[in-house]
Symmetry: C2
Subunit: 388 residues, 2 copies
């Protein structure tokens, strides 16, 4: 089981803080945006007397509400096609467990969300990475790159759209290419859509918008980022494939039910006013614009403009991103502060890739981002392993 | 992946209810006892503004509180030896994932909690059952029965104490026998202690009370039954084995954090007044006494007196417990009501066992139990597959 590449630097951050250094956390996707008050109030104003197990697929009232939510984003499903999960994490684990046998293979464009590795280990599944590149903003790799690695054991493709860690938002044309591929080879498409609402140029094109692949597509969803409700641990496993739903329900029943309180929160969130995402998106967009422009203004730094999520990947003039990120916490400060970044190496399945790249989560407000970029700019001038 | 044996009868119960028949649910361990108000109020009165990820091991404040709880039951641990899990379910899954490789074997006295099978499938682990018997109240099988099935691939023993489904509470002498066994063969002991407080004759002897086996013992715990908080999905993985804690933390980090709201509930529960369990236990004990005496008064029925938990296993004069339990819901009523039981077949790993046994969860009040026993008594006279 691999250790979380994002969390392994935590002891260094704690040590820096003990020295009195302020750490700007751009390393983890924990938004600073407040959870909507009406979402928290739904839990606080609840009046049940027994905290009972819910249905293993989640409360029926919540699943029925979610049908309305999915309709609002152009995805038509029945509430029986939704299984509420313990975070998006469990939806991914369920997909791996249900659709793949031990030794089966899943193709994932890299860099990818590092915890896919962990869930793959738990399910005994082999992750086969195909590389996307910072030069074209981490667009979908050519379909022939997928074709090259498909074997009789390949059962599924995972995409994250918009993408963590790259921020890339797949176009409709790319999604149609993926559709042809999964039909040709009879593969599952696991589409992690945690950041669905957070696209800044075009609306997200969901795997749920693809036609004629109902039995292939599974949407892995979560309320964590959408409503800044990461700690609730509520997600969803969504598919129109009846056999797959039946099989996944067995896993859902084994763990009895998803968390009770946060289902109430999730249900309330569906009734947020239509402009909720406008405000949140406007905030994230201004942060993205700032961080991307600040990064690209630094000598030797390249940061493609991410179309979605709240992450940016940047190529830095450094020898090794793991060493650099640790050095930032251990040996650097600028005006009493430093910045914590996620080394990109942990997001690549291919050893050796990502050594000059870092992921920045723009989950801090504009002035904090500005200050963090001041730190980074100075750090790049001082870091002993700088390459320019 | 096996379907939940307890939940497979649910459609028949729903059909019975649609016909206007009242169903007494003795089939599932969902207590009717109210969740303590101060536990729910802790969540309702919380005032955070962002529902953030917690530490992957759970909130430090909660883990520190739990140290106090464990001290109160004679178990001395450090808060760093506790990983908060998503229900007891996840603690069991973590144990299987961390301690066993695919193909390794775990010995479990049967009948056992059926979902162990599901977690074993998820971890690719083989469950090796050894049979305990209703005639002696499901006491620990002789140690030579364990010895007979130990192979080089045997890595762990699972006990549930007090036991679900049998209600048996292992004696100190039995626990010492298990200790000798795990030391001799260098095995892990996974001790599921969900029902720790619910013993009616003697105090529970915990695996945490055993000396000299710190590296072998893992306690799988949960607040679900203890505080009637099943829907919160909060449990704990407790061990003094440092390497095991480190490895398990990787699984914990992959799924990010346990549920946030219910950690607040769990933390508040530690401060319940000392007499909280007295009241709850007195209620369960009177239910146990009633159900056991009613069962044993029925012709051809045998029900050993369970020392703990809130389950009783009964041997009935019937051909097949699955058929009987379905018949109760499909083809029987007494005064407009019927009773839902759990066929014991689902709790045995050995095919063919449990055909004359059912599990009864005494999670209803005394008058409901009385009425349910009236139903059962009459059902046994009418059931076409009765054997006397």
């Amino acid at each position: 089981m691999p250790a979380s590449p994002i969390r392994k630097l935590v002891p260094y951050a704690e040590a820096a803080k003990k020295k009195g250094i302020h750490v700007y956390h751009l390393n983890i996707g924990q938004p600073d945006i407040e959870t909507p008050k009406m979402v928290l109030d739904a839990v606080r104003n609840s009046n049940f007397t027994i905290l009972e197990y819910s249905h293993s697929a989640g409360n029926e009232s919540y699943r029925k509400k979610l049908v309305k939510y999915y309709q609002s984003v152009g995805i038509n499903i029945h509430y029986n096609q939704i299984i509420i999960t313990t975070g998006g994490s469990e939806a991914i684990l369920f997909g791996f467990m249900t659709c793949l046998d031990a030794g089966d293979e899943v193709i994932i464009p890299e860099p990818f969300y590092a915890n896919y590795n962990g869930f793959a280990v738990e399910a005994g599944v082999k992750v086969v990475p195909i590389t996307s590149h910072i030069e074209n903003g981490f667009a979908l790799p050519p379909i022939q790159d997928f074709e090259k690695v498909i074997t009789p054991r390949t059962k599924a493709i995972v995409i994250c759209n918009p993408n963590n860690p790259t921020g890339y938002s797949y176009s409709e044309a790319e999604m149609q290419q993926i559709k042809e591929l999964i039909l040709k080879h009879n593969l599952y498409l696991f589409s992690d859509e945690a950041y669905r609402e957070f696209t800044y140029e075009e609306k997200q094109f969901s795997a749920g918008h693809l036609e004629g692949v109902d039995d292939n597509v599974v949407i892995m969803d979560t309320i964590s980022k959408r409503y800044s409700a990461c700690g609730g641990r509520i997600g969803a496993f969504v598919t129109k494939n009846k056999a797959l739903l039946d099989a996944t329900m067995k896993f859902a029943q084994a763990r009895l039910s998803p968390p009770g309180f946060a289902q109430i929160a999730g249900e309330a969130a569906v009734d947020l006013p239509a402009d909720y995402f406008d405000t949140t998106k406007a905030e994230y967009k201004s942060r993205r614009d700032l961080i991307v422009s600040r990064l690209n203004a630094m000598k030797g730094v390249f940061c493609p403009n991410p179309g979605g999520a709240f992450y940016a990947m940047a190529k830095l003039p450094i020898d090794d991103s793991d060493t650099f990120c640790q050095w930032l916490l251990e040996s650097f400060e600028y005006g009493g502060a430093t910045v914590m970044l996620a080394p990109a190496t942990g997001f690549y399945g291919t050893p050796g890739l990502g050594k000059q790249e870092v992921r920045l989560a723009y989950v801090l407000n504009l002035s904090a981002i500005d200050a963090a970029m001041d730190c980074l700019q100075n750090a790049l001038k001082q870091y002993p392993g700088r390459t320019i």
